[in-house]
Symmetry: C2
Subunit: 440 residues, 2 copies
Amino acid sequence: SRRGFSTKPQPESSTQANISLSNKQRLFMTDPVSPGSIFFLPHGTRLFNKLVSFMKNQQARYGFEEIITPLIYKTQLWEQSGHWENYKDDMFKVQGFNKSRDEDESGLHEYGLKPMNCPGHCIVYSQFDRSYQELPVRFSDFSSLHRNEASGALSGLTRVRRFHQDDGHIFCTMDQINHEIANTIKLIKDTYKVFGVAEKNDITYYLSTRPEQYLGDISTWERAESRLKESLDKSVGSEKWSVREGDGAFYGPKIDVLLQDAFGKKHQVGTVQLDFQLPSRFDLKFVSNDGSRSNRPIMIHRAIFGSLERFIAILMDQYQGKWPFWINPRQAMIIPVNESHVEPARKLQKQLQGDILNENVPISPITGYNFYVDLDDRNETVGNRIKDAIQKSYSYILMLGDKDIEKGTVAIRSRDNRKIENLTPTEIYEKFIKLEKTFQ
Amino acid sequence: SRRGFSTKPQPESSTQANISLSNKQRLFMTDPVSPGSIFFLPHGTRLFNKLVSFMKNQQARYGFEEIITPLIYKTQLWEQSGHWENYKDDMFKVQGFNKSRDEDESGLHEYGLKPMNCPGHCIVYSQFDRSYQELPVRFSDFSSLHRNEASGALSGLTRVRRFHQDDGHIFCTMDQINHEIANTIKLIKDTYKVFGVAEKNDITYYLSTRPEQYLGDISTWERAESRLKESLDKSVGSEKWSVREGDGAFYGPKIDVLLQDAFGKKHQVGTVQLDFQLPSRFDLKFVSNDGSRSNRPIMIHRAIFGSLERFIAILMDQYQGKWPFWINPRQAMIIPVNESHVEPARKLQKQLQGDILNENVPISPITGYNFYVDLDDRNETVGNRIKDAIQKSYSYILMLGDKDIEKGTVAIRSRDNRKIENLTPTEIYEKFIKLEKTFQ
Ligand SMILES: [Zn+2]
Ligand SMILES: [Zn+2]
């Protein structure tokens, strides 16, 4: 292997443990050609995509509409948003190598590579006349984001230069704020429960208040902070949160949700931020029910996973590589007992992989249930192949021999239990569907 | 509307027609803050995501593994790949605003924003020892790509600075080339058939040969060109393709597949490129069955849609806004006859939207069938609401009145046919699933 992570038998931090697990399961890699940017390998990409699919469905439930927005924006946008004065040091600048290509009306040749989606979402909001009847307008976006972290601070999946958020912005009226914040905190709790992280690691809630560098006036900040306090008292309980003075975003105060990793280190995941500044800087408006056109919406920034990269790191800690079936990039391994069982084993594999792998149609359908099922037909003992599949953390091991083929069944066992059941392929497929539907 | 496209009643080009349709259906927008980068609005994002889902499933069929790779790479990578000498003018450079953040071992502060995925895929290939048994290794990637097109050349969705490809790279042996190229051309044909574009617009196949700026030696180029000629003769027919002299990529010759739009203009979509240069520049290797470690794989670059943005433009031409059901971002509109029918109408909507909108579970499942179904309960005549839904190009209109509610049915008609059927909600859901599965 040309470039390798150094693996250590006794990890001393979550990052070391993650890298060691990633090496074992081939989940992700990094390379000096792009420090702080993760390469997700095929099995890591499966995990990443599963989290994205999961969250897209939750967001649809809560009325979010996904949009795709540019990655580079002319300097003027960052001046308008306030990032230029308050965030420039954390950003990358972009320019054409050949400047003559870029002779726009604006005359400006310099872009910023986006560290956040918010200004782009303001542009989309302001493209159309918005009526009070449309509010809340909720946009979601899974774009790549870049922040120029100091090279010494880079660490595994938790401190990176390129990352992805399950980002969302809500544009709403003052009356709608509390409901939207409560919904966000509910989704945060429900989501963490699915991944079992809330049981093992405590969730910590902070209210992060006005930082040294901030936009707007103090009374607006105080109003926003008291709104967030109310919401925390109601959704979380007055005893269960604390204040981080001066830790808010430059455009507004925020609720930060932190999870603790196996080594006791806390990581920021979810966030809810209240923002009166960007709507004013982008002159966002809506038409109220009395027909007046100059009403200003409030903007809520929120994320549930936060950085997907960091959330995956927390899940690696949480599961120690023993991924639950529904999220496992290696869901089942089929082991034909000997060569004569390879053909039926292949047939079983296709059936469990689902319709998208069906070669009887020229084109695969878009939806349906498809599972990651591999086949190990190496010339090794069944015992060795089972051991190998368990080491690779396949959730289920399916064995096919003469007896089972005669009865039309498959011998199935889980990663953690030697007990063998004999089920038909259809029963196994139904079992897998149920596991996926119930997040097991 | 703050910024608007100018709409013209008589479009004179595909671009004008697209922009006018996009305005009507709210599919995408552009803004001077990021010239050449498309903002996909919610309904355009639905189209975009559907195409991506479609292609991910086809790629899984053909043995591709999706990976996620960085967007910015240090200059040294572009020097190694040859982009530095041959492609720099088309690229954007990236630097931290605060240079002290970037004190890497390399000492280099400058990145290039990727115009292609290939060098990143070479890095992933070279991370592990590869055996001949693993080949072909096939990576797919839907990353954002940036090319610094001259500002005067920018046009709608077809000539942009930021775009996405259904990109894929195959690393294989010389013996495997023909099979892989034939598979790619088969998938191109099967895919275009699904979208009906091959019927209306002719497909044109070109062999694009060695350009003025090229890497490697002429004999390697000639060998690669003759391989592509053989494949074209076999898959397409010797009469059905022609040569574009000097139009190859700098690293190798290619087959370009073009589709004609409604205004007679041809657009490049699919591509198959044969490359002996990058494997050598990145020193890619595999272990052969005799154990020798210095074997060089060949690299095939291929895309089916090509640029997703451009393919969407071609589909806009093709369907003139009358999207077939399976890809329509507006699949059905429910019209309750009067106020008393709004409650059952909402129930029907939830049922057709599928499990992800089911509020009876705290968390929505990941897979299953979900359709884009809206409800129009405005205080307007049924006739006006039907007219409006047809204008917005909903595929189906579902009407709910006393009679149907009594019988437990729904009155359903299509966009193009006044004929009304009375079906149960379950029958409609099944009908929709069938339409989606068969790409209608
Ligand atoms: Zn934001
Ligand atoms: Zn390529």
